[in-house]
Amino acid sequence: MRKVLKLSLFLLIVASIAGFSISYVNGITDPLIEQQNAEKKQSSFNDVYPGADDVKDESKKYITNDSDEVVKEVNIAYKSNIPVGVIYTVKPNGYNGKIEMLVGFDINSKKITAIKILSQSETPGLGANSKESFFSDRFKGLNAESSIEIVKKESVQDNEVLAITAATITSKAVASGVNVARQHFISNFAK
């Protein structure tokens, strides 16, 4: 019995030393990580809606339906305290998993300003190309009032987007994310 106590006490000491040292390192690195995440978020907001003075997370106000699987965040971009744009964080299902991406809309013109893929786990060399600008640029300036379709032919009409070669599923997933954000935008911000 005494032996068990002794052993447990020893493990307790080892574990507490480990715990304290981890919390010490965490104290140093945590502010840095926080700062990085905030900066990253700010710069990606700037990528999808350039020129805003301030971007505020107003998800609580606009995501009323808790069961919404795709729309994760609604951020409003302000210019001199007037809301001018909306930036959505959406997570549609891709070929290998969720694709996390930002979709920006301009309230005045009702057009997509830009999209940006934040994280994805699609096939390298194929679906992973969705994060490259050549693909996301294809969504720039599209009208938010009608549905966006993925096509495989060279000639694209209004609100058609050319798929990534040999990665139609990923392309369609990105478009579905944009469409969900688009519907939310139209029903909430376009009056």
């Binding site: 070929y95 194929l126 495989k152 070669t165 040999a166 139609t168 599923i169």
Partner: protein
């Protein structure tokens, strides 16, 4: 290696001498592929010829070099490398760059066959290994289809079904004759059926694998077709389009990589059919013959073990 359970049963005399051997049988399979070869040359002209010649030449050279390096007997005379090269070429698109076809052929022989120990020891069908390698490596080049005769870029019938653009689908008779976009040797259902029947009549393949394979695909797609309110064209399309006939008659029946028991062969065919339909209807690819046969190749030893006939009067062994 010599496991007692696997020893051949030798019966007492008299024995009949058969002229069948590896190289004769290989040559017969190649003969059975000639109708499909003619169809390929007729529809895709010089483009098909270039790919076929490249694949066969590279297959023979790779076989020679790897056997030389591994200090094995050189067996290029038994025509098995020619057959592998030909089968690989048949499941490539006619517009494929020749260097990609050459790499596929080398991979099929070196990684798919010689690294496992040469003819008779390979787990997977070498031609399908080559195709799988190429499909994963250069998916764009491997899914770039051209129409027969004029070489204009087009989609395959299965691709059209996948993208649900059914109004552009070619007619069943076009499909049957092979006047559609697709792999070099897969387009003409008629030519493949003639070749398959030749092999069946000559006794080189067992009817169980192709028939259970084709039957499963037909039955499942018929059920799905009825459930979705599609017409009778739906199962017929799945039967004649894509690589199903080539796979069922010439690849799933590969002597080395398919089960040896009768019951096992039926299980093998049903498994291939099930996986093919699953991939075609639910998967990311429009065609699933290649991967379904490779997957079933993997479980062939298991099927054989569980369907092996027990020795009459023998004591049941604990596995």
């Amino acid at each position: 290696m010599a496991n007692k359970d696997n020893l051949l049963v030798v019966s007492s005399s008299p024995h009949i001498h058969s002229s069948n051997n590896v190289s004769n049988s290989m040559r017969d399979v190649i003969v059975a592929l000639i109708p499909a070869l003619i169809a390929a040359l007729y529809y895709f002209h010089f483009a098909a010829l270039k790919v076929i010649v490249t694949c066969i030449v590279v297959a023979i050279i790779s076989e020679y070099i790897s056997q030389k390096m591994m200090k094995r007997d050189i067996t290029i005379k038994d025509s098995s490398a020619i057959l592998t090269g030909l089968l690989l070429a048949f499941c490539l698109p006619p517009s494929i760059p020749l260097w990609i076809a050459a790499i596929g052929s080398a991979v099929a022989i070196i990684i798919g066959k010689q690294m496992f120990g040469g003819l008779g020891n390979n787990i997977f069908n070498p031609a399908l290994i080559g195709r799988g390698f190429l499909l994963a490596s250069w998916p764009v080049a491997m899914t770039n289809w051209t129409a027969p005769f004029d070489g204009v870029t087009t989609a395959t019938p299965l691709g059209m079904i996948k993208e649900s653009v059914v109004q552009e689908l070619p007619s069943i008779s076009q499909l049957f004759m092979g006047n559609i976009g697709g792999c070099i040797g897969e387009t003409s259902a008629l030519a493949l059926i003639i070749g398959g029947l030749y092999l069946l009549v000559k006794g080189h393949i067992d009817w169980r694998i192709p028939f259970s394979y084709l039957g499963t695909v037909f039955a499942l797609t018929a059920i799905v077709g009825v459930a979705n309110g599609e017409g009778s064209w739906f199962p017929l399309y799945h039967l004649f389009a894509g690589g199903l006939l080539l796979g069922a008659f010439f690849m799933a029946t590969d002597w080395v990589t398919s089960p040896i028991t009768k019951k096992g062969r039926i299980i093998f065919g049903i498994g291939c059919g099930l996986l093919t339909v699953l991939i075609r209807l639910k998967g990311g690819f429009p065609e699933g013959v290649c991967y379904s046969i490779l997957l079933m190749n993997m479980v062939t030893p298991l099927i054989d073990r569980y369907t092996k006939a027990r020795v009459l009067g023998g004591v049941r062994q604990h596995a």
